[in-house]
Symmetry: D2
Subunit: 346 residues, 4 copies
């Protein structure tokens, strides 16, 4: 194979998902998988789903020296941890694809929403924001990529055609989203237990969820002006999937129809291999295990509101699939290599 | 026991739930259970959960003659079917509690949202709208009750203190709600199959869901002015439970805080046995199997928006429990008889 | 109320379930709830389902002195912990109902299956084995009760009529059971995470699960001879419920039919308020939230095998409900007080 | 592409799964998809997961004339329907791969277990039984293949090494299996509704499930003598996955150990790309969406019983994946083409 890669933090869900996808990649070989907390364990012990694909690979402790010289290093770490490691990587490995939050936002925004000091502010401009459909030029022009979060991808793809065309007010936008539990990761907390999640829905992070900043950043980038969003995430009893249901007010004087909006969406996403504009209501299950995002839009004349919906698999298009899409881009490979738009349904 | 009751349409989920609750009622005896499509079957065959409580009861075909003279007749029928039956009941049975949609709305609203002619318009004013916390006086002054829908109960209880106090604009209100699948009933359709619902979320009834009219009616009743709502329901992979997440804009000039709003909610619902105002984020599972509704509220200064949330069990407070609460009211029994506010968790 | 009770270990699932049931008990008042790891927290913070029922109760640290003089103390502790506490309770409180494993087995059996030394062997004969349908005389003659485990209750009730009548060989019995995840408790482990349990089934404790000893004990008690069982438990994606599917070989010379066996089961359980013998195949959901056990039996002529099945809610009849049933018995109250045989379905 | 295929009955779950797998096949082109009940609908309307892969394909009514000349015709029909169609296909298309039950068993066995007359008995010997690991020679020597059922594949792969080596008695074998709901197909029945399946487990087809005959046939083929099995299937709340837990008695005089048995299993399945012998307990989720089967074995000295377990995805290795594996075999393609052994986990 042409390229050698490492997955740093390979025992969490995004790491494991990346390993699943990379197992089918014809040009990238997984040379190293690290996981400090599980060092010494076989990949197949934690994820028997991967046992046959990574028979001889065990988790190792992370070491910048071992990573030097690799073509791609995927960082699947809790927020805050990439900052510590990235300094020793940005010039020693060809491409860093960070799946964490550390380099997605301007430093000031990061510090505001995450409530902590950024320890590597000088590296922030070394990373492009990795949402290919909205930032493809920036990504291909960059060496390293900060791959975005699951909610921001879902909400931004659902709303982008509206704000790009200036059809809706940039304030008063509501993003009401539901997510499967894998988005909370493999960490042990009572709120992730089956017995607590099953037959249950509740909202969390009311008013203050950190992904708000990413949604506002991506939509502001497309709009060319500041966009303000109120974002409410919910946990629902499923493992994977995010559905964002978004509400926006038309700008004064514009005349909207659902058909017109759907046509605009199809034009906006024409040629995109992973964004499917549907007339129906997007179902998360249609994207399960795939890198697809399904979006739709409606205009409600009665209340003069635009409704936009976006569905995706939070671990694929919302995390590891998009990270691989970014890796394909920076490596100059076909963007869809080892990525599918076909979901596992039922 | 003091009163004799019938459950008409007792093979569906709301009928079965009513039977579950009535089995523990000290003053109401179930004299008759009808279900045309399952006539002849034992209740325990369809619902083995009820086998020991209704050992000698089999479903019968519905007949107005058999119902005459009963103290309470609960109608658990698809919308449209109560209209045909109610004419022969309103003067021959003491109390009709209709769990369907036929007598909840003014006839014109019914015909607009349900898209069909109402065949018993003259009976509409014989039924009070059965949301006790907002219509208790009307209910106790009425002989018959139209018990409201699951979404309207959840959303109205979440928003009522706001509109009652005139704190938010009566237009531009968004209700984004998720529901367990039992809300769709026991009817056979592909969208209710486990394999289609599991690991899946999607929105439905975009812009046009019929419960919109009930929400607007209840909130308008409390507000004393017309209220306009955009309502988006979603199906999530659980059997019971509804969570409504609601967004409203403060009226100009009012100064809001979350603490102040929570205090207002506690005052508004003081003494209500089934509405629990919580500082936390309401979880549907906390209400499972109970007649409780849990609500909370937040003010977001950043976007100048009020966020209100309400959780309940759609088959209990959203249907059969509330119907029994209404029956207790019209019979002059303690409102909480045979109803609990304690959920099944985990 | 007539009696004052404590729940020791009230922050776990069996403790919370006991609190749910006790909230409806007319004769037992909850005076004290302890939970060392959550001392100071309000019951309603961990279980908002219980918020309205226990508004003024917070978890306290356990102290034998605080428990002295109470009428009933329920111990909901991990195995091994009751041993340390029971010595100071057996003579200072009227009745101890232990939901843990410490006093269910003869000391030698405990030490063999649990692999550790029993630290209070002298107390073992102070506790009756609390499976009322099979040990009612022993329970009412005892002051304290060791309430049995979830799997043993399910399997023993399913098989007891067979071994009591000497119809099947006492060896070669297979118990293949599935359980909801709440049986693993509220402890934080990866195997209890929603994302790991959902869409998954696997067997665990192969050949060596500790409940084997309890099943053998209960069946041996009924049979009047030693019974040997191979028990395989499985974890399935639901919160509550156990179904035991049991296989046994008829003794030589006996002539069996399914009808005859069902008749024998009905006779064996005649008058039992919580055991329902069904012609159909028992569904765990029919018992959800209730203290019911549903059982059935079949004879397969083709392979000359008897098949017996038993379903129950592991947190109720498999734990807290049965514990309360035992408390009712030792207090001389009607055995069914505050316990229902009606399940929550759907 | 080299070969042109049709999927007959492409609107059910096995049909849709086959379309998902075929979308990634480099040598087989889907020329035609039929579904009488959904004729005229777009594939993407029923399965939005497939929308981008089959944008221009709509379901057609089945017609033998349209199928003539194709290289492979997959029949995904309810049992009984392949018999009517196969007569006109066996000589006009290169290869028929039947996913139904019609040609899996000798005619007499079919008629006994399915309780109906076989209408095309003369075709029975035109089909090989399509379980490649146990019948590879027969498959490659045949033109047409009857692909086996989900339970038989799981149980047979779990038990085959034991009976092949003559280590266990051929009678008294118990297969206790659990299945996800997709095994029941997309047909509308109350027992497949989410609200009935969720939080529920029950056994079905007690003593008489038709897959018993296939398990006995496959094991008998391997054993070289008649094998008798008592099979009990259960429905559990998940969409995909089967776990078979199997019990067998060692033949007299043989000395067994778990390690020895595991070694035997590894030797038996050496080189098999889709059977993974694991030391741990197989989890269905490890196989989700893949063509893998995970198996393990234990010897219990205490009860002198062998325990064997097998897990797979009922729609892939248990149906459509195995059908494609068979198609690859008869077409002379690499057996693993377009099939993966990596599961979707979590």
């Amino acid at each position: 194979m042409a390229y050698r890669a490492a997955v740093v933090g390979g025992s969490g869900y995004t790491g494991a998902e990346l390993l699943r996808l990379l197992a089918g990649h014809p040009e990238i070989e997984v040379a190293l998988v690290t996981a400090d907390s599980n060092a010494g364990a076989a990949v197949g012990d934690l994820y028997p789903s991967l046992a046959t694909a990574y028979e001889r690979i065990t988790y190792e402790s992370v070491s910048a020296a071992d990573l030097a010289g690799l073509d791609v290093v995927f960082l699947c770490l809790p927020h805050g941890e990439s900052q510590a490691l990235a300094g020793s990587l940005v010039d020693t490995v060809a491409h860093v694809i960070d799946l964490g939050a550390d380099f997605r936002l301007p430093v000031a925004d990061y510090e505001q929403w995450y409530g902590e000091v950024h320890t590597a502010p000088g590296l922030a401009d070394r990373f492009a924001f990795g949402m290919p459909e909205l930032y493809r030029d920036e990504i291909t022009a960059s060496r390293h990529v900060a791959s975005p979060g699951c909610y921001p991808t879902s909400a931004s793809l659902a709303l982008a055609p509206l704000v790009a065309a200036g059809l809706v007010e940039p304030t008063g936008i509501v993003v009401d989203a539901v997510s499967g539990v894998s988005g909370a990761g493999r960490g042990l907390k009572a709120t992730s237990l089956f017995a607590e999640v099953s037959d249950n829905v509740n909202a969390y992070g009311l008013l203050t969820h950190r992904h708000t900043a990413e949604i506002e950043q991506a939509l502001g980038h497309v709009a060319g002006e500041a966009v303000q969003v109120l974002f409410t995430p919910h946990l629902v009893p499923m493992t994977r999937g995010i559905l964002s249901t978004c509400y926006a007010r038309p700008v004064a004087g514009v005349s909207l129809t659902t058909d017109g909006l759907l046509g605009g969406y199809r034009a906006f996403y024409a040629g995109e291999p992973f964004v499917h504009v549907t007339d129906g209501s997007p179902a998360t299950k249609a994207t399960l295990g795939s890198n697809a995002a399904h979006v739709t839009v409606r205009y409600d004349q009665r209340t003069n509101t635009v409704l936009a919906l976006g569905a995706l698999d939070n671990l694929v298009k919302g995390a590891s699939g998009q990270a691989l899409q970014n890796a394909n881009l920076v490596l100059g490979l076909p963007e869809t290599t080892a990525l599918s738009a076909i979901g596992l349904m039922p």
